[in-house]
């Protein structure tokens, strides 16, 4: 189905983009979500949330309409942060207790230096497009399929800020990556002051959406649509394709050294013991999409599916069993709280769940 969308999107790109830009710019009485700060909401903790991260002792979660909330009491109460945009946010990363980044639709990148209480904009779709145009204007021959890339780059500029960023990961307070739809990927080494596009450094010829970027052990992995899985080759600086025996979407990557886990549609889970060279399917028994996963402090691997089932592995991902939950809670993102509990963020807000076997 997304083929169709993509086809429509690409073929009618020029016409649509002109129209879109005119509309977005000239619509009277309409204030763009990028120009509208997130509204305070009394129901904010029950809104649709997509990302959650641990910032020291604090939990920070990001979601729709620019909502960012944080909790200093393990999720008992949530405070709404002040955010300069009201675009839907998709992911958040805190490399240190103080500094964090959040990304979302319309190419939004937000930065906080006070543990998530206040946020400022580092990028949006407009500046993102400009970075791409400037960079590839200055480096015209970067990458093997440069000619085709050049065509597509123009579209990024033309279409305005319509592409979402879907994941963010910061290694420390200076180095980080953001990834998104249609093979969008950028890197910063100065805490987001400047960004370098890596669109030409992925083995992703069909420009599949990039859904996740995560380190496991010392390696950095990317995953996305149609079984796409990539691993950073530190010598060449390219993300090299891995062969996962699956053509459905992989929503995310998690795991620990020797136990690399990729999870996706309809309960599909794949495991690699050799850092991505070979993969084996792990049966979960529940044909529901698994959007997120994490590793507990005691080393157990936890996956959460869209039905709210918690799948727990105590054997490094060789097998998963379902933890008993009183009320299943569909999750898009999960953060570990010690050994026994996880904090979930999903379409109905936040919920703490305990891992009972």
């Amino acid at each position: 189905m997304y083929h169709r969308i993509k086809q429509i999107a690409l073929t009618s790109a020029l016409l649509a983009s002109v129209v879109a830009i005119c509309l977005a710019a000239g619509e009277p009485g309409f204030i763009d979500v990028l120009d509208t700060p997130a509204k305070k909401s009394s129901l904010v903790a029950k809104a649709h949330f997509n990302g959650i991260a641990v910032a020291g002792k604090r939990l920070v979660s990001v979601g729709q309409r620019g909502y960012i909330v944080y909790s200093d009491d393990q999720g008992a109460t949530w405070v709404q942060a002040s955010v300069p945009v009201s675009a839907d946010l998709t992911a958040v990363s805190f490399p240190t207790p103080g500094k964090g980044w959040a990304v979302g639709h319309d190419g939004v990148v937000l930065n906080s230096t006070d543990g998530g209480a206040t946020w400022s904009r580092q990028l949006d779709g407009h500046s993102l497009a400009k970075i791409i145009a400037d960079y590839y204007g200055a480096h015209p021959s970067a990458g093997p399929d440069a000619a085709r890339l050049q065509d597509e780059l123009q579209q990024y500029v033309d279409k305005g800020p319509d592409k979402p960023l879907l994941d963010v990961w910061f290694e420390n307070e200076t180095n980080g990556y953001i990834v998104g739809a249609f093979n969008l990927i950028f890197r910063t080494v100065d805490g987001g002051k400047s960004w370098e596009p890596l669109l030409d450094r992925t083995d992703n010829p069909k420009r599949f959406h990039l859904y996740g970027i995560r380190p496991v052990g010392t390696d950095l992995y990317l995953c996305g649509e149609q079984g796409l899985a990539l691993k950073l080759d530190r010598q060449t600086g390219r993300f090299r394709a891995l062969t996962v025996p699956y053509n459905g979407t992989l929503f995310g990557i998690t795991g620990k050294p020797g136990a690399l886990i990729a999870h996706g549609l309809r309960g599909n889970v794949f495991r690699s013991a050799d850092a991505g060279t070979t993969w084996k399917k792990v049966e979960t028994g529940i044909p529901v999409g698994i959007i997120c996963g994490t590793v507990m402090d005691d080393g157990r691997i936890v996956l959460v599916n869209q039905a709210g089932n918690l799948l727990v592995s105590a054997d490094n991902g060789e097998s998963f069993s379902q933890a008993k939950v009183e009320q299943p809670f569909s999750a898009t993102s999960v953060a570990p709280l010690g050994d026994q509990t996880v904090m979930l963020a999903g379409p109905r807000g936040m919920r703490k769940q305990t891992l009972k076997q």
Partner: protein, 824 residues
């Protein structure tokens, strides 16, 4: 004052017709009585004609007539009504398994039969019927190859445990739990959209017929295992019309009460029959004229015949009072009839016209049913002038009255005047004109008024009960509604904001973003359970398109994605926007329809509209049951205030014209105010809010209630002006009018008290409140008028002259009577 010759004895006793001057009396009297037979024939013909017309009366319960047509919200609603399919007209039929859950072959078979029966019911929009048995209800799943799906009820369903397991799985992946399948899996729903007009014939859907068909064909399938719950606008209207039919039968009870009251009063079968006959003729005429003018009978105007009948009876009985006394003294029946006519025609007419003031005030309320009520009631009052003021005396001139009863009347009156029998009551009441009793009565009333006022501060606007407020809480409809509300996700109180755009504008990025912003504001209002609009559907389709990834649950800035979302949404749900994508509702589901809840939603919406509505993206209030109720509440609240003001203004003017004394006006009006306050307190205690149905109560209660004061005070003042002390004057006044006051109170209350048993809640409310107003105004007048007079009217100056307009029948040789003393 004007009552100079108020005693029957002042008219000469004429035993033989030969001694009577046929040329006496005014022109109207001569015209009517000198061609009595002609009058009878004409009346008979008119009655037949109008009775024939009355048979053609149509019953209706149109909701559009119950809403304030010119309120901006309603104008917006009516202008966009045809585009708002989702808010209109559908039935929800829930089939419950009382002995298990829906995964039961027997249950599913029963459901199938009901589904098929509904499918074939005329008026049903078959293409959009949804249930477990319709193939359009599908499950979908995102797979590696794209969307996969199928009907929830598989083609290979055979009732086996295997296919039952398959059904269970399909229901889980289709996400219909809470909408088509109950949260407890003990029932499932058949959603049945209706067509307003038959596309083949162009004939409008008859709700009453449909409701009957549903009872006959669907409800009849109920047994000890299968229970059926039906709700929806069409069913409600059908139930209301059924209720109307039932209320009509109460007319018999009202007539019976009248017969008993009149007979107890006159002890004469002949007069009883005559009074009832004339009042029924009045009702026939009223209904005939109403039908000829093209009005329909609705749950409000159905009450007019009751009022007309009651007012007719109270006038008729007054006629009887006079004629009995004449006949009792030996006057010939024709002469007695003419005397009665002389005494009472103008008086009665003035009284009837005064009643019309109450109705006229109602005309100012911008709600069609109330206007119709006011208009048809005015017609009824006009008719009474002919039937009970002209026709009744003519009838009497032929039939006369029972001589025995007439003589009894004279005896009783003598007894009363000596303070025996009913007279003891008059003696008792006249003590209220003395200091001790007056102080006690006034103090008690003030206390009562204060307590009443404190209670009445809690008076609410609008309907307070859950479910369909038109019907009783324990009606089958409301029980069905309660069951469905409890077991399914969405409430039946919908508040919709309408978004209007140029063609193809609904699923534009900006429109959807603004709609989403509005939804977000509404969701935060206490009492809003959730909101639904095209936004939800487009976000859902978008996420579905991207493998169900919740991160794609968004309004994409890419218009192609939105267009696709809109198209897909319209395939599954035609209600979210109209055909050319110019109108879409943003629907808030409310936990109740209390006025505070509606006020909060209106406030937030208005604020949003002020900031976000533009020419090309126009947000408008309101649609949905709760939206319409919000507008009605606003109008009713306003109307309640203005109407009180106008009614009291009219009453005060009327009193002043009659009494020419501000003090007397205060004495007459204060008891009414106390009653009005107590009526509001009663509403609080009974849980009745101020609503369309209670507006006429105040107008009628005060408008008709003032009559009591007019009867009593005008006689009392006249006597005082003749030099009598207050106590004597009041005793005379009450001896002369007390019976009439009591009788009017009882007959009016008897006319409306039967409504209390109506299955239509608001009619019952009106019945309770009007009965209270009529009775309590009577009591208030009898007790408070002497008491207040003690303080305000203890000394009355004798007038220099009698005001011109009180000379009734001036110039004729008949005695002059104050119009207010004998009329109703």
């Amino acid at each position: 004052m004007a009552v100079r010759n108020d005693k029957i004895e002042d008219m000469p006793v004429v035993k033989d017709l030969k001694d009577f001057d046929q040329k006496s009396g005014n022109w109207l009297e001569r015209l009517v009585f000198n061609s009595r037979k002609m009058v009878m024939i004409v009346c008979a013909l008119v009655t037949l004609g109008l009775a024939w017309q009355a048979t053609k009366l149509v019953f209706n319960a149109s909701f559009e007539k119950m809403i304030p047509q010119s309120h901006p919200y309603i104008k917006n609603y009516l202008a966009n009504k045809n585009e708002l399919r989702g808010l209109g007209n559908s039935l929800r039929v829930v089939v419950e398994n009382t002995k298990g859950d829906i995964f039961d072959p027997e249950y599913l078979e029963a459901l199938k039969q009901i589904n098929d029966e509904l499918f074939l019911t005329p008026g049903v929009d078959r293409a959009w019927v949804k249930s477990l048995w319709t193939p359009a209800v599908r499950w979908t799943e995102v797979t590696e190859e794209g969307f996969q799906g199928g009907p929830v009820m598989g083609d290979d369903y055979d009732g086996s445990p295997k296919s039952m397991a398959q059904l269970k799985l399909n229901i889980a992946r289709s996400g219909i739990t809470g909408s088509l399948v109950a949260n407890d899996f003990k029932s499932s729903m058949i959603s049945v959209p209706l067509m307003e007009t038959d596309p083949a014939t162009g004939i409008r859907l008859d709700y009453s017929v449909l409701a009957k068909t549903l009872e006959k064909n669907i409800r009849s399938k109920q047994n000890d295992k299968i229970r059926i719950h039906i709700i929806g606008f069409a069913k409600l209207v059908g139930d209301l019309i059924d209720g109307l039919m039932q209320v009509i039968t109460y007319f018999g009870a009202a007539a019976l009460i009248a017969v008993i009251v009149i007979y107890l009063y006159t002890r004469c079968l002949r007069s009883t029959a005559l009074v009832v006959l004339c009042s029924i003729i009045a009702v026939v005429w009223q209904l005939g004229i109403v039908a000829t003018l093209g009005f329909e009978l609705d749950p409000y105007s159905i009450l007019v015949p009751f009022l007309v009948f009651a007012i007719g009876v109270s006038h008729g009985v007054q006629k009887m009072n006079g004629i009995m006394q004449d006949v009792g003294r030996g006057t010939h029946k024709l002469v007695a009839a003419r005397y009665t006519f002389r005494r009472l025609f103008l008086a009665g007419m003035t009284a009837l016209l005064a009643d019309a003031v109450g109705f006229a005030v109602l005309m100012m309320i911008d709600i069609p049913v109330i206007r119709d009520l006011a208009l048809t009631a005015s017609i009824g009052v006009a008719v009474l002038i002919f039937t009970n003021l002209l026709l009744l005396p003519v009838f009497l001139s032929f039939t006369g009255v029972s001589l025995k009863a007439a003589k009894l009347t004279i005896q009783e009156e003598n007894k009363e005047n000596k303070g025996f029998g009913v007279g003891t009551i008059w003696v008792l009441l006249s003590r209220f004109a003395e200091r001790r009793w007056a102080t006690a009565a006034v103090t008690f009333s003030v206390l009562l008024a204060i307590i009443g006022f404190v209670i009445s501060l809690n008076l609410k606007i609008g309907d307070l009960d859950p479910g369909a407020p038109e019907l009783r809480r324990n009606s089958r409809y409301n029980k069905d509604n309660a069951y469905i509300t409890k077991n399914y996700a969405l409430s039946s109180d919908l508040f919709a904001i309408i978004l209007r755009t140029p063609a193809e504008g609904c699923y534009k990025y900006q429109s959807l973003i603004e709609a989403d912003r509005l939804a977000s504001e509404l969701q935060q209002v206490p009492g809003v359970q959730t909101t639904i609009s095209l936004v939800n559907a487009v976000k859902q389709v978008t996420a579905g398109t991207y493998e169900g990834n919740p991160k794609w649950f968004t309004l994409s800035r890419n218009q192609d994605v939105l267009n696709y979302g809109g198209q897909q949404a319209s395939v599954n749900n035609s209600d979210l926007f109209n055909g050319d994508s110019t109108v879409m509702p943003i629907i808030a589901y409310l936990s109740d329809h209390k006025a505070e809840t509606l006020d909060r939603v209106v406030k937030v919406s208005e604020e949003f509209i002020k900031q976000h509505s533009t020419e090309d993206r126009k947000f408008m209030l309101a649609a949905g049951s709760a939206g319409i109720e919000a507008a009605t509440n606003i109008v009713v609240k306003e109307a309640n205030r203005t109407m009180m003001l106008y009614v009291y203004a009219a009453v005060i003017v009327l009193c002043f014209v009659t009494f020419r004394s501000w003090r007397a006006v205060v004495v007459a009006v204060l008891p009414l105010i106390v009653t009005s306050i107590l009526c509001e307190a009663l509403m609080v205690i009974l849980g009745i809010g101020v609503k369309v149905a209670t507006l006429p109560v105040i107008a009628l209660g005060v408008g008709i209630g003032v009559d009591y004061a007019l009867y009593l005070l005008s006689v009392q003042l006249a006597k005082q002006r003749q030099g009598e002390t207050l106590v004597d004057a009041y005793r005379h006044a009450i001896q002369f009018t007390g019976k009439v006051v009591g009788l009017v109170g009882v007959t009016l209350a008897g006319g409306v008290v039967t409504w209390v048993f109506s299955p239509i809640k608001f009619q019952a409310d009106m019945g309770i409140l009007l009965t209270f107003m009529f009775i309590w105004n009577m009591v208030g007048a009898l007790v408070l008028i002497p008491a207040l007079s003690h303080f305000l009217l203890n000394t009355v100056k004798q007038p220099q002259h009698v005001p011109e307009h009180f000379h009734i029948n001036a110039g004729s040789d008949a005695p002059t009577v104050d119009c207010r003393t004998c009329g109703n």
